[in-house]
């Protein structure tokens, strides 16, 4: 047998029908492993979302309780408070600006949440500011500047004056974003940031209003359910996904080694 170079022997070995057949089998095996890894990840995400959703639903289904029973102003807002159904009496602060928080609806329709300052008028939180999402407005983000006028006092979307009773679900603070509120919009709902705009004491979470008594006339859709922040990915599923990828790589390594041995055999 003539002496062949390492590379050409490798390719000659790799082209053998038996080796190609093995490659096919091992690639299918590797593909299945990679797919199984992805499936494990999907399952991990799905599982943690389902668990968080179930917990929030269970809390929202209960009859509203006084706000005082759930959270007090200037105290930490915990994940267990998210989705709690509460009611509270007080009035919208007429001197405080309303803001629009851009948020597309689940169908991708642009729009924003109307955020207002609500002064609690009863119980332990009397006098404190509760950030309140009055509802959702379908609007093009490009027109948000013009909407600031409608949201200001005297505009058709101004917060109603006088005492009202709100019913809704609590939602947690979002990370403050850089948007300053100077153009009438805010990038997120962060009570820490709102305290600078509206003053304190302020609650650590906010209320998404489902019902106002007496009824509002403004043309706002009810705010959608607060986004459920999902818990961390179950580590176990993540580890399984990694394992499947390792197995996939293993199949490829086995093939490369087989070709190498075969090539060495051909050379000798």
């Amino acid at each position: 047998m003539p002496t062949r170079s390492r590379t050409s022997a490798w390719f000659a070995a790799a082209r053998q029908p038996r080796i190609l057949g093995l490659l096919l089998i091992l690639l299918v095996a590797a593909g299945i492993c990679v797919r199984l890894g992805a499936w494990q990840l999907d399952r991990a995400v799905e599982r943690s979302e389902r668990a968080a959703l179930r917990a929030a639903e269970a809390r929202a289904d209960t009859a509203p309780v006084p706000l005082d029973d759930v959270v007090r102003p200037q105290t930490g807002f915990t994940q267990a408070m998210v989705g709690r159904s509460v009611e509270v009496a007080g009035e919208f602060v007429q001197g405080a600006a309303q803001y629009l928080v851009p948020e597309a609806d689940p169908a991708g329709e642009p729009g924003g949440l109307v955020l207002a300052a609500f002064r609690v008028g009863e119980g332990a939180g009397e006098g404190a500011i509760l950030p309140v999402v009055r509802g959702r407005l379908d609007a093009d983000p490009a027109d948000l500047g013009a909407l600031a006028f409608r949201l200001s006092p005297g505009g058709d979307l101004a917060a109603p004056p006088g005492n009202v009773r709100l019913m809704g679900v609590l939602a947690g603070s979002e990370a403050a974003q850089s948007a300053s509120g100077s153009d009438g919009t805010l990038g997120s709902i962060s009570p820490g940031q709102l305290a600078n705009l509206w003053g304190s004491p302020i609650y650590g979470g906010y209320l998404r209003v489902l019902e106002v008594q007496p009824a509002q006339t403004a043309s706002l859709d009810p705010a959608p359910a607060p986004a459920v922040r999902r818990g961390g990915l179950p580590l176990q599923n993540l580890a399984y996904a990694v394992q499947w990828w390792i197995f996939g790589g293993f199949a490829v390594a086995v093939w490369l080694r087989l070709v190498r041995d075969e090539g060495r055999r051909l050379r000798e």
Partner: protein, 128 residues
């Protein structure tokens, strides 16, 4: 052509024996862990020995760490299998059997003595 591939001569016997020793340890550990995992699966899914959670999914009995541990031990086992297999320059069928031995209950205890014979036979042939 001889019956045995000529590359056998290039097997490093000392390293191959060391690789076999590592494989052997992992074969026992993986086999034992797999038996524990099988027991857990039967108790959990067949007998629902741990009860079910609110969503109706069976709860673990011995603990969910068993499957987790087996997964990673199996990864280490595969590393030792690959090491031994490539040092011995065996063919595809032998690695398939050894890979399967880590996931089919009891099979690792059957394959381990067989692999010992493979190693002995091939190393003797290489020295001859």
């Amino acid at each position: 052509m001889t019956a045995l591939p000529p590359t056998r001569a290039s097997i490093d016997a000392g390293r191959a024996r060391a690789a076999f020793a590592r494989y052997r340890v992992m074969a026992f550990v993986t086999g034992g862990m797999l038996l524990l995992l099988t027991l857990e699966m039967v108790l959990k899914y067949v007998f629902h020995a741990g009860g079910v959670d609110a969503a109706g999914d069976p709860e673990p009995v011995i603990g969910s760490w068993v499957a987790f541990a087996h997964g990673w031990i199996y990864v280490v086992y595969l590393v030792t299998v690959f090491d031994l297999w490539s040092r011995m320059r065996w063919g595809a069928s032998r690695i398939l059997v050894m890979v399967a031995a880590g996931v089919v209950p009891v099979l690792s205890f059957v394959i381990e003595p067989r692999a010992a014979r493979w190693v002995d036979t091939d190393l003797r042939a290489a020295q001859a």
